[in-house]
């Protein structure tokens, strides 16, 4: 008995020892900065890191709420998130259903479809800039000269609405492979006997999809939607690199910090974003727990 409890103690000690590096790293690089950020948001922060920030109460927050650009950016972000989450999940689902059959070259087709998710964003942005170029871009050549969808080359990088469409297209193309991988794995985990039983009962393909496939993959789809919503709410790099016309929150925050150099205000923006997403997470968690 005594032997067992010392063994247990030794286990706990080893467990703690092994988790310690991870714990220290996560605490010092994520938890501490998030707390430090709260402190910064109540201060006027000088550019020089050695200079002491000056306490100014909630001025940063007041300025933020009075700033029309901030509210506009927030609305733009919601729009961006809603559209990209729907589009990337839907495309991922459709492609996964399409590739969940036996056909020649299935393995290669799957690997190829994943490429946009794997390649560096900078490479992808460069080639999109080339393809959507206003003078010799192939997209304009096809849409203007061949299909006559537009009468003149659209200003993909300079017009706010067109730029929004561009970044949505880009994001959908880049991240749908992630949904595709997840949903495909879920599809393959479905027990074949379920379909066999349904076939004996005379259920057609459509009915099988609604009665078996969808309920089986729903948990994965739901978690994809939640994660993608959060990730795209913080989206920064591809939007920032593609155009200056879509100031979603990530871009707005980055510019406030590194172009305007107002770190106090940027810290306040961070807090607002954090609260919005935390509320979303808690809301979703309660919903999920109820089911």
């Amino acid at each position: 008995m005594a032997h067992k409890s010392t063994l247990k103690k030794a286990e706990a000690r080893l467990g703690l020892l092994f988790i310690l590096p991870s714990l220290i790293l996560i605490a010092s690089i994520i938890i501490y900065p998030l707390c430090y950020n709260v402190y910064l948001s109540f201060h006027k922060v000088a550019l020089n890191p050695l200079k002491q920030p000056k306490f100014i109460g909630i001025s940063n927050y007041m300025n933020l709420l009075a700033d029309g650009d901030f509210l506009k950016s927030l609305m733009l972000t919601f729009l961006y998130v809603i559209i990209t989450v729907i589009s990337s999940t839907t495309v991922g689902l459709l492609v996964a259903l399409l590739m969940n059959r036996k056909f020649k070259g299935r393995g290669i087709a799957r690997s190829l479809v994943i490429l946009p998710y794997v390649a560096p964003i900078i490479s992808l942005v460069f080639v999109w800039q080339y393809m959507f170029n206003g003078i010799y871009g192939v997209v304009n050549y096809i849409t203007v000269d061949k299909l006559h969808i537009f009468s003149a080359a659209p200003a993909w990088f300079d017009h706010p609405v067109l730029s929004m469409i561009l970044v949505i297209l880009f994001d959908t193309w880049r991240v749908f492979p992630y949904s595709f991988m997840m949903i495909l794995a879920a599809l393959q985990a479905i027990d074949d006997s379920l379909y066999e039983a349904a076939m004996i009962d005379g259920a057609g393909a459509w009915k099988q999809f609604w009665a078996i496939t969808l309920p089986e993959i729903m948990p994965v789809v739901a978690s994809l939607i939640v994660l993608r919503s959060i990730w795209n709410f913080y989206k920064f790099d591809d939007v920032y690199l593609l155009t200056k016309q879509v100031p979603i929150m990530g871009v707005y925050l980055y510019q406030t910090a590194f172009s305007v150099h107002d770190f106090g205000l940027a810290a306040a923006i961070t807090i607002v974003l954090f609260i919005i997403v935390m509320t979303f997470v808690l809301f979703v968690k309660r919903k999920v727990n109820r089911i």
């Binding site: 950020n37 964003i121 992808l124 080339y130």
Partner: protein, 278 residues
Amino acid sequence: MSQKKIRNILLNILVVIVVCVTLTPFYFMLTTALKTSQGSVAYPPQIFPTEITLQHFKDVLNPAIFPFWRYFRNSFFVAFTTASLAVVIGSMGAYSLAKLDFPGKRLFQEGSLIVYMFSGILLVVPLFRIISSMGLYNNRLSLVITCLVTTLPAALFMLSSYFTTIPVSLEEAAMIDGLSRLQVIYKIVLPLSIPAIMSVFAYVFMIAWNDFLFSSIFLATPDNLTLPIGLRQLFSSKDYVWGRMMAASFLTAIPVVLMFSMIEKFITGGLTAGGVKE
């Protein structure tokens, strides 16, 4: 032909279309890198290059004209160091989460799940201040640490869900044979987990290799730049040199694409386990 056969053919054609549309940008990346400078700005655009040249690749790889190799080395240093550390620290933590019991385990698991969701732009402002005041500004190590921590939750998750599939009885048997806990880990558990370890390595390597956000705020001088931020600075002027740009983009994408294609199977499994648990 039966109806089923026709349907299958149609679906296969659809697969071909999906793959082609997805790969179109990669096609233009490669062909434009091979076009002559005139060819890349020709109108109507050349879907198939009329003349092919390797000049842009030669230029990009020539250190006298283009600092590609310097950026490549920096990127490789950051990605390789980060991935190696993630494997070591992640394996330790994951073993602890999978096989050992310690106080506060649940709290840690839930905490790291939250960290998985909150990273990137949210950390930029405070981390920049902290890194600067520590004197790590313009030091590649700052990038290593940041990328390591932001990928650690996923690494812990992938590894620990793999470790749990290794039967406890196997470890117990080895311990009865006189192996210590540590010997069990590096003689039995780790060798059995090579696929998962490779996946984590490749996943972290990819994230660190592709990172733009943190590199753009932590690195400053050309000596230290990684590929994404270096290429962006080189090509931010508007006198487009598409050939070189595409050649550099293509070469930048190659290491991660190769690595990913080798371990794709395992990654899918690992990420899926994460997705289901969420």
